[in-house]
């Protein structure tokens, strides 16, 4: 059953299945400029903070996610699998892409 993922900064929502990770689902949503890197938890470009909701994780590099990060739920989106509706804040390289107009999908407001 797909869950809802809410991006806090923009209020946008997208769906993500149990077997999908947050990054692939976000990229699938059609938004431009998502910094899809290695998709294996090694490169660190897709960092998010999960501010609400349950999830499972798979192994990710401790060079990019420290114990403190993990405790604060700052994780790599490519290694986070939702187990309910979740909310995320985008961090690092992803922040610029998601939180500028260049990264936004057309909405009712921006459609010409």
């Amino acid at each position: 059953m797909p869950y809802q993922v809410t991006i806090e900064e923009t209020g946008e929502r997208y769906t993500c299945g149990e077997q999908e990770n947050l990054l692939i689902a976000m990229a699938r949503s059609g938004r431009r400029g998502i910094p899809v890197g290695c998709r294996g938890g090694g490169c660190g470009v897709c960092k998010v903070e999960v501010t609400a909701g349950d999830y499972e994780t798979r192994a990710m590099s401790c060079q990019h996610v420290t114990e403190e990060d993990r405790a604060e739920r700052r994780l790599l989106a490519c290694r986070v699998f939702p187990r309910g509706d979740v909310s995320v804040k985008v961090l690092g390289k992803m922040h610029k892409a998601v939180c500028t107009n260049a990264g936004l999908r057309p909405t009712e407001k921006t459609k010409i």
Partner: protein, 311 residues
């Protein structure tokens, strides 16, 4: 060309976040041959046409990336001489005892100014390529398993001080510069391709602020068709691809770049040309790298993920 001194890339030790996922990738998708596991839990693999016991060692770790990259040298006397030469040049070297890596003789390890650990060794057990040495067939069933590259070809490493790295490889280890990319201001070298043979590269470096980073390990295929077949096999196995299939202007190599399950980039590569040490190096401007087709000749553009994502 005559082959003396440093012969060729010999092995790389990669860190993987999950060992069995890594083994499944390199053994079953790439199609390498698993040749052993040691008491530390490391897994050894080789490409089907390599004669020596191993060329890739996987180590489970909490971070991705490369532990070290090694070159095989002609013999033990050459190893001793190169170790003395490195020390005279001012580097600290470390001898790692025979057997620390399975079926591998003594290694000389040193850290280069880009923060990478490089090793030299002269001896590794020759297990052969599965073909008899008298009147062999041209290939074996292992040559058809997975992508089935014939050998570990080269690596591209990201780190600082590549001008010093070039000096060390050329003045001490006998490499020569094949191609280079100038920096955005036209000054200095942002990237260098170095050869110890007549391959277009045995190792390459890109200037990068963080030391010790891996851009990719490259595995050699014999035809452009095999690279396209590799693309099909990667897609069938849902392996995330970075760029390709395409051709580089730089080295003329035909290629696909993709990521292993821990995010280490690898390349399935063929082509290039046969450089010799007396050739004038090819120079690419920074514009040449993008619009000039240095990185991606058909599309003539830069790919941000290719330039910036490393482990």
């Amino acid at each position: 060309m005559a082959m003396t001194g440093v012969l060729r890339p010999g092995h790389a030790q990669l860190r993987v976040l999950n060992l069995e996922e890594g083994v499944r990738h390199y053994r079953d998708v790439l199609g390498m041959v698993e040749t052993g596991r040691d008491a530390q839990g490391r897994v050894y693999l080789k490409c089907w046409d390599e004669r020596d016991h191993n060329s890739l060692i996987l180590r489970e770790s909490d971070r991705a990336g490369i532990d070290f990259f090694a070159f095989k040298v002609l013999d033990e006397a050459t190893l001793d001489k190169l170790e003395r030469d490195l020390q005279e040049y001012g580097l600290t070297t470390e001898r790692i005892p025979a057997g620390e890596l399975m079926e591998t003789g003594e290694r000389v390890r040193f850290e280069i100014p880009s923060g990478h650990k490089i090793e030299l060794y002269a001896t590794k057990t020759q297990v052969g390529n599965g073909l008899q040495v008298t009147n062999p067939a041209p290939w074996t069933p292992a040559a058809e398993k997975g992508i089935a590259p014939v050998r570990l070809d080269h690596c591209l490493l990201y780190g600082p001080n590549i001008a010093e790295v070039k000096k060390l490889f050329c003045e001490v280890l006998g490499f020569y510069l094949v191609e280079r990319v100038l920096g955005p201001d036209g000054e200095g070298e942002a990237a260098i391709w170095l050869s110890c043979s007549h391959k277009v590269h045995d190792i390459a470096f890109v200037e990068h602020p963080e030391p010790g980073k891996l851009h990719h390990l490259s595995f050699l295929l014999e035809s452009w068709e095999e690279v396209l077949r590799a693309g099909d096999i990667l897609a069938m196995n849902k392996v995330p691809i970075d760029i390709g299939p395409t051709r580089h202007g730089i080295t003329r190599g035909c290629t696909i770049y993709a990521w292993d399950p821990s995010g280490n980039r690898f390349e399935t590569f063929m082509g290039g040309y046969q450089p010799y040490p007396d050739y004038e190096p090819t120079t690419w401007t920074f514009d040449g790298l993008g619009e000039g087709g240095g990185l991606d000749y058909p599309q003539r553009k830069l790919h941000e993920s290719f330039l910036t994502v490393v482990t």
